[in-house]
Each structure stands twice: as C-alpha cells, then as structure tokens.
C-alpha cells in the first residue's frame, strides 16, 4: 500500500487492521476497530485521529523524489558459480538454473533480429501501482539468453516484449497468462502445435514461454512481496501456456487471420486470466461439446465476460459437424445460451469488488442485473467477441481446455525478424531442430497417430 502511494507521488499516513476483513462477523470488525494496529501495536483509532491532526514532518511537506539509479550494462566480472548465485539471490531468475548472459552469448542472440540493440522496445510494470521500467532490444536478448533460447526464437520473444504486457501481472488473485504463435515462424523455429504442445517437450515452446516470465521479473520489476503479491501464485507462470496454433489440422481459419492478419504473417497473441479446466474427453460421446462447454463455464465467476476455448483439432472438427462453420458461430452460441442466476453472479467476491461499482454508477447491463431477484437468469458472457477459440493438440483425444483467459493483444512477429527473414541456423540451432524432429517423429510413431492421420 505504501509503495502504491509513493508510486503515485504521494506520501500518505497508514493504519492497518488485522487481515482479512472480508467475511468477518460484525462483532469481529468492531473489535478490530477498537483494537490495535498489528503492525505498530498501537490503537487503530488513535492512529487514525493522529494521522489527520499531527503536524506534517519536513519530508511530508517537501517530499523528495525517489530516483532509481541507472543500471549498468555490465555487471562486475566474477566466476561463473558466483554469478549464478548472484542472479539467484538477487531474484533475477525463476528459481531454475539460467544461462549466464555473457557479452558473447548476447551478441550471438542479437543475430536473430535486424533491430538495433539500443532500440527501445517498450516500458513495462507488473502492477499499475508501480513505475514502469524501460527496456531495449539488448535487454530482451539478455533475458532470452537466460531462458536458454536461441537466436531463432528472438523475434517471437521481442514481439512478446513489444506488447508491454508482463507475464506476471500482480494480483493477490494470482493471475496466469497464455500465449500462442501463428504463421510460418511456428515451423521455422520448430514450435510444437501438435502432440503434447502444452507439455514440456519442445525447446521453442519452453524457452519462449520462460523468456516471457524472465522478462516480467527483470524488465517489469517483479519482486516477491514488494511488487508481486499473488497469494497462492500460479504454476502457469513458469511457461505461460506457450504453444503454436495447429493451423494445419484445424478445420477453421487460423486465429490471427480472424484478428485481421494475413495467413502468411507471423503473430503472437497474449491472454490473461487465472486457470483452465480440462474437459476430459467429453466431445460428442454423450452430449455435444458445445453443451458440455456451457456446463463447465458455470465454474467461472464471469468477471470480464471472457472465455477462451483451447481445443484439440478433433473437437474443432466435431463442433463443425454440429453446424458451426466458423468459430464465431460457436462464440455467439455460448454467449447466447450460457445463463447463470443473478445470485450466483453477484455472489462472487471478485465480481462484488470489480463489477458492482459499475452497477452502482448506472452502467448497463450491470445496473439492471443488480436489481434482479436472486433466481433471475442473466447471460453474463454477453459479448461474443470476448469468447475466443484456438486449436492445438495431437488428435489422440477429443478434449479441450475451458479457460477464463481474455484476449489482450495480437502483434506481428515479422518486424523483429533478421534481415534474411529467417534465422540462418548455426550448428547449435540445427542440432536442436534435428533433435526435436526426431523426438516428435518417434512420439507420433508410438502413438499410432502418424499412420492414422497420414502425417
């Protein structure tokens, strides 16, 4: 709280009550008010009165600006093991071993883009209550090296950085992120859009997702307990559900084309939410998948009226067989047919905190919903455009993930490519690519998928 105020230029006087307040009986709240501040040990209301009446201190009258010192380009030279320890203890990693960003490695990474290393890519913060940090192409490359990425991955990582959307948006509710890549670069850099695409078997998916997290830590100033306040945290934060869309096996046009890009363009799309529910193979067995989706959606509080379906190509084909020739038709179906009671909607803590204020100020349809009887049915996913669909997976099971992720941005990757358009593989990149292809071919062979699908 105090940092929040300072980052708005304000030095305020605070008094703290025991936490939490939500859901506590009235007599407990009264005891809190009549009791002591757990931080200072002094009576809460005495502190409140003093906060309003004690004369200002010199610092309160004429506050000094908090100025962060410019970070040096290079850290002091040291032994490798000491530098690994420095990065870990300074909170500059995700807790896993990193690749040290030597000048040599960073220079090599920068061969993956035509952009000037000193070009400012953007400014980022993990909380609206904190001053943003600024970062260049070179800073992004440093974090890409740390993540274990190669130069071929840098254009996608730069595009992620250019969204200015940090992978770890701070909220006590513990946000998660999702991102996926469309277009030719998926294959060029060896991303996995098929079997196990969301599991840790593919180098490109893994390091790009990890780089986004490391950029949030170092370029958006994520510091546990100071700027990052997620109560539980979220395992999605390690890799951010990073994958490529399976455009080749989808029955629909690719996601980025539906968002206005050309098919031959490469893009990355970023999402934000909290979690995902696995349908566990319900497509078409006992009821159509779209009906099962309506049931699963009941688990979410509908805070932003946004849902993203992450579905296997088999599910997309099944949905299309039900008459949904375009995913927008599925979005319209779900928007129209999903209903929940007003009591269920307004009973959510986050809806109370973040939607009810709009209702009180008269914003529709929330104001009308607030006046409805408890058992009245409402359609809280009222904007079909907020219901998105993406296709990924290996067709070994007709399942999908129902996520509460909302679409943030879709941005071009191509502006960050090297002059040649495609990174020319060095021996290391070629070895990674060869190993990936061998592993993938072996996995397909074992699953029987290669024979049955003709791949």
């Amino acid at each position: 709280m105090e940092n929040d105020a300072l980052n708005h230029g304000m030095r305020l006087r605070f008094t703290y009550a025991p936490y939490p307040l939500v859901g506590r009986p009235r007599e407990v709240l009264r005891r809190y008010v009549e009791g002591d501040d757990p931080v200072t040990g002094r009576p809460i209301m005495q502190q409140v009165v003093e906060a309003l009446t004690l004369p200002l201190t010199p610092e309160e009258k004429e506050p000094q600006a908090r100025r962060g010192a410019p970070r040096p380009r290079l850290l002091a030279a040291d032994k490798e093991e000491n530098l690994h320890q420095l990065f870990l203890e300074s909170g500059w990693t995700d807790g896993l071993p990193i690749v040290l960003p030597t000048e040599e490695r960073v220079a090599h990474m920068l061969t993956g883009t035509a952009a000037d290393p000193n070009e400012v890519v953007g400014r980022m913060t993990i909380t609206v209550h904190q001053e943003k940090l600024e970062y260049t192409v070179e800073k992004v490359a440093v974090n890409a090296v740390m993540a274990g990425a190669g130069p071929e991955h840098l254009p996608v990582i730069l595009a992620l950085a250019a969204t200015e959307e940090p992978a770890l948006p701070s909220s006590t509710t513990s946000f998660g992120r999702m991102a996926f890549v469309n277009g030719p670069i998926r294959e060029e850099i060896g991303m996995n859009a098929g079997l196990g695409a969301l599991s840790p078997f593919n180098h490109a998916n893994s390091v790009i997702g990890r780089a986004w997290t490391l950029m949030a830590i170092n370029l958006a100033d994520s510091r546990l307990g100071e700027t990052f306040m997620a109560s539980l945290g979220n395992t999605i934060n390690y890799n951010n559900m990073m994958f490529a869309e399976n455009e080749e096996r989808s029955v629909w046009e690719p996601f980025h084309v539906r968002k206005g890009f050309k098919k031959e363009e490469s893009t990355v799309s970023v999402f934000q939410g909290w979690t995902a529910i696995n349908s566990m193979g319900a497509a078409g067995c006992c009821r159509p998948a779209q009906e099962e989706m309506l049931i699963i959606m009941q688990a979410f509080p509908c805070l932003r009226g946004a849902i993203t379906m992450v579905m296997d190509p088999l599910v997309a084909a099944h949905i299309k067989e039900q008459g949904f020739d375009h995913p927008d038709q599925l979005s319209e179906y779900l928007s129209k047919n999903f209903k929940m009671t007003a009591k269920q909607f307004w009973g959510s803590d986050v809806v109370y905190s973040l939607v009810e204020p709009f209702a009180r100020s008269g914003m529709q349809p929330f104001a009308t919903w607030l006046d409805l009887p408890d058992d009245a049915l409402i359609a809280p996913y009222g904007v079909p455009e907020n219901i998105n669909v993406v296709v990924v997976g290996g067709e070994t099971q007709a399942l999908w993930l129902t996520t509460d992720m909302w679409h943030g941005k879709t941005v071009s990757v191509d502006k960050w490519r090297p002059k040649s358009g495609v990174y020319e593989e060095d021996p290391d990149a070629a070895r990674r690519r060869s190993a990936r292809l061998k592993r993938h071919a072996a996995a397909l062979s074992r699953s029987g998928y290669a024979e049955s699908s003709g791949h």
Binding site: V33, A69, R71, K79, E103
Partner: protein
C-alpha cells in the same frame, strides 16, 4: 553456444530494465488542528469487507467523538480507476478523508 571462458572469470550483462523516474512527489495536504466539529468522508474503494469495517469506524466516531460528522461513501467505479469527481466532492464538502481498503 559453448562458453569459451567456462571455469574462469566472466563478464555478464545486467538483465534488469532501466528506471524511468517519471514520478514527481506531491506534498501531503495540511493537517487539521483538531477533528472537533469537522466533516470526514470515509470512502470504501471496493475490496470486500472494507465497507463494513468503515461502518464500524463511523460507529466509533459516534461513540467517542460525536461532534465529528462522518459521511460514508462508495468510490464510484473500480479501485484501479481515478475518480476526479470524488476528489472534487471531498475538497468541497469535507475537511479530511479516510480511505478504507478491505480485502
């Protein structure tokens, strides 16, 4: 790519972004000599439990400092949005403001 200097002293780049230092500090508003006969706005910003807690603060003033006039208000809009009208109302109608942040 293999590290040619493995096992020896190496130099690495700082991974952190640069501070932008754009925030200008504001002086705190003058304090009151006393709360006797003054009007205080108690504003709940919307986190759960904040409103009920502030109701108890209002009750405390009624019991212990009855000359203080309290006005309990919801912040309009969500807590992450500025609300110029709220500030204007406070400047015009109140001598002091207590913000309640629940959760």
């Amino acid at each position: 790519m293999a590290l040619k200097t493995a096992g020896s002293v190496v130099t690495v780049l700082d991974p952190r972004g640069q501070p932008t230092n754009v925030i200008e500090p504001l002086p705190m508003a003058p304090r009151l000599d006393s709360l006797e006969g003054k009007t205080i706005h108690l504003i709940d910003i919307g986190f759960g439990g904040g409103w009920e807690f502030l109701e108890e603060v209002v009750a405390w003033f009624e019991r212990n400092m009855p000359s203080v006039k309290t006005v309990l208000k919801h912040k309009t809009g969500i807590m992450f949005m500025d609300e110029p009208q709220m500030w204007e109302d406070a400047r015009r109608d109140a001598h002091a403001v207590i913000f309640g942040v629940g959760g």
